[in-house]
């Protein structure tokens, strides 16, 4: 029982981290229609910036400064890169972000090395908050949850209540109309892109020390974040939250289940040779593929396709 509770808690932490990453991308995709391939790279930059800053002046300043730096970088990328390729169409935008992800993936190991950096949980929160079945539960993980929940509440309130939120929601569905009403849509786009990147950076700051901060961390999450955003129904913050938690639980829970696929399928009446190549697969093996499977099936079989949520 306590074991299950622990799995659930870890799934919740991972899911909330995914949410912080995907909430930024949700805003960008939903509003600008740009599938930002480099989004997870900004997450990685957030973690590395936080590492350097926390070594210099500590974790708490890094919590504020690193996301801001990443956000500024996002603004520069949008203003001087994306905007220039925008007129060449959607594929050109996608290719630009692919190239950007590639370059960031090369520059990061150049500056910080090819192996993981020792980015650690701040000492102030590195104590067991409670004990479950003999396992200590770190207070920092509770802090992570609190930050994620605060982000969700803040975003939701900002989009629902503020004037800028109103413009953003309107620009999601009717960009020309919003422009005609005198709002500077390109400037709103730049802001949204910067804010989305800053959110990814924040996820990096608070996630990089619990998981590991390595040059491979962007690639490991890149496609999963897309899966989350698409599952959540582009442009929907609550949708992104639900999808993030679902994938967080599935991934965390399945890692601890190591029943062979052959035996499981045999129990529900599907014949699969339990000693063949497929039969010996365990659920833990197959789990990483789940988000991608959902990504493919949702896109290919949903009659409205990718842009279903956008009105056009």
């Amino acid at each position: 029982m306590q074991e299950i509770l622990l799995v659930l808690l870890n799934g919740l932490v991972y899911g909330l981290l995914l949410f912080m990453l995907s909430s930024g991308l949700t805003l960008i995709v939903g509003m600008m229609g740009v599938l930002n391939f480099a989004h997870a790279s900004f997450y990685m930059l957030g973690a590395y910036f936080a590492y350097t800053i926390s070594v210099g002046i500590g974790f708490w300043p890094a919590l504020v400064i690193a996301p801001l730096l990443v956000g500024v970088l996002g603004v520069v990328v949008e203003r001087y890169g994306l905007r220039a390729v925008h007129r060449n169409g959607k594929l050109a935008e996608l290719l630009f972000t692919v190239g950007l992800a590639f370059i960031i993936g090369e520059v990061v190991p150049l500056i910080w090395g090819r192996t993981a950096v020792p980015y650690r949980v701040p000492a102030a929160l590195d104590f067991p908050a409670f004990t479950l079945g003999g396992i200590n539960y770190q207070a920092y993980r509770l802090f992570m949850m609190a930050v994620s929940v605060a982000i969700f509440a803040g975003l939701y309130a900002a989009l629902a209540r503020t004037r800028l939120g109103l413009v953003i929601r309107a620009a999601l569905t009717h960009p020309e109309m919003v422009a005609m009403l005198g709002h500077n849509v390109p400037r709103v786009f730049t802001l949204v892109f910067g804010a989305g990147c800053a959110l990814a950076g924040l996820a990096g700051v608070i996630g990089g020390n619990v998981f590991t901060t390595t040059p491979g961390m962007a690639e490991a999450l890149g496609a999963i974040v897309f899966a989350v955003v698409i599952m959540g129904g582009l442009g929907s913050i609550p949708g992104a939250l639900i999808a993030s938690l679902a994938i967080g639980f599935i991934q965390t829970a399945s890692v601890t289940l190591d029943a062979p696929l052959g035996a499981v399928l045999g129990r529900i009446g599907l014949p699969l040779d339990p000693h063949g190549a497929l039969g010996q697969l365990t659920i833990a093996h197959a789990a990483p593929a789940v988000p991608y499977l959902m990504l493919v099936l949702l896109l290919a079989l949903n009659p409205r396709g990718l842009m279903g949520a956008r009105a056009d």
Partner: protein, 435 residues
Amino acid sequence: MPGETQLPASVSVRPARRIGRGGRGAALAWGGAIAIALIAPHLFASGFGLSLLCRMAIAIVFALSFNMLLGQGGMLDFGHAVFFGLGGFATMHLLKLVDGGLALPVVLLPLAGALGGALAALPAGWLATRREGTSFAMITLGIAELAVALVVMIPQWFGGEEGVSGDRSGGVALFGFDFGSAVQIYYVLAAWALLAAALMWGVTRTPLGRLANAVRDNPLRVDFLGYDPARIRFLTFLLAGLFAGVAGGMQALNDEIMTVSNIGSAASGAVLLMTYIGGVGTFSGPVIGAVLVTLLQVALGTVTDAWQLYSGLIFVAMVLWAPGGISGIVQSHAPILRAGRGARLLGPYLALLPAVGLTLAGTVGLAELAYRLQAVRGGARAGRLFGLAVAPTDPWQWLLPLALFVLGAWLLSRLAPPARAAWQEAAAQAARGVS
């Protein structure tokens, strides 16, 4: 969504060549390609040279198959290496059977690659080609990740970390090819490359090839002209998977080993890089890109660790400023040169040269210093750069390349707009003069 698949406008507005009129030029180009394939191993007879040529032959077929989708059909496939890799594994398994005594000519094994690639493209294409544009691209991304997960999950078939390996010197020696010498594998691969390229070129001149272009430009209208755009995408996808499988089969024969990395995202990224740098707008673009990028990779790879970074920077620069790639740049200047207006561009272009040089020198300087810094931290020696002793830990050494870069970029921002204007004017005049 119409318009979603539109490629960069700057690739677009030029007359498509009339099929048939280009007959003599095409014959000349193919004759040249065969001649180069025959002469090359004599010019680069060293083991290093031959292995480089072999890698080029493989890359050419792979890039051409990728461009059947991106350039001809407007489909960005993020998982093209899946078909390359599975074709390679299929070839590898057959090669192992041959090693075990099956009497087949090894020379013909890339056919197994074709079959493997096409079979893998069947379910993938069925799912992906229902969509166009960015949705298509995202589906292929998911399929690529799924394929890698599958390959890792089933070590019984794909050999896990070590991969699957075999020995090409067994089997029946067809046409006297027993792979006893290094030059033999080159001739076999060159023959396959020429054959596959010729077939892919042929496809561009068939009804399906033309329909693929039409679907790239305007899928909605194709639907109203009696063809199902999804079906055209599907058939094109199968053919592209088949030829990627041929390339994978060639790779299997060349390396005698296939691993997960041949399927993964890095391999898919590499083919995108080559094709885009060469140019997606023409048939020859991917060939140029494959040759150039392979060459740079090997040539630069021996001198600097920064090769990956440079290729990424070149790619982004192309996306931003030359979406037609190298062949696009050549093609946009051909009518100007033919109309005899090239001389007018000389001035503005020459003025750009120092600015480009400064920017490049600055970029290379910064990148190299960074890589050397990493090397020094790792305990290695910094070595020399452009004949100068490098001390990457000295902040002053960073100042010079930084200054060069800033100066170059500033000059470029000043000089590029007039050069562009001169080009546009010359192109407009050339177009008026011709029609």
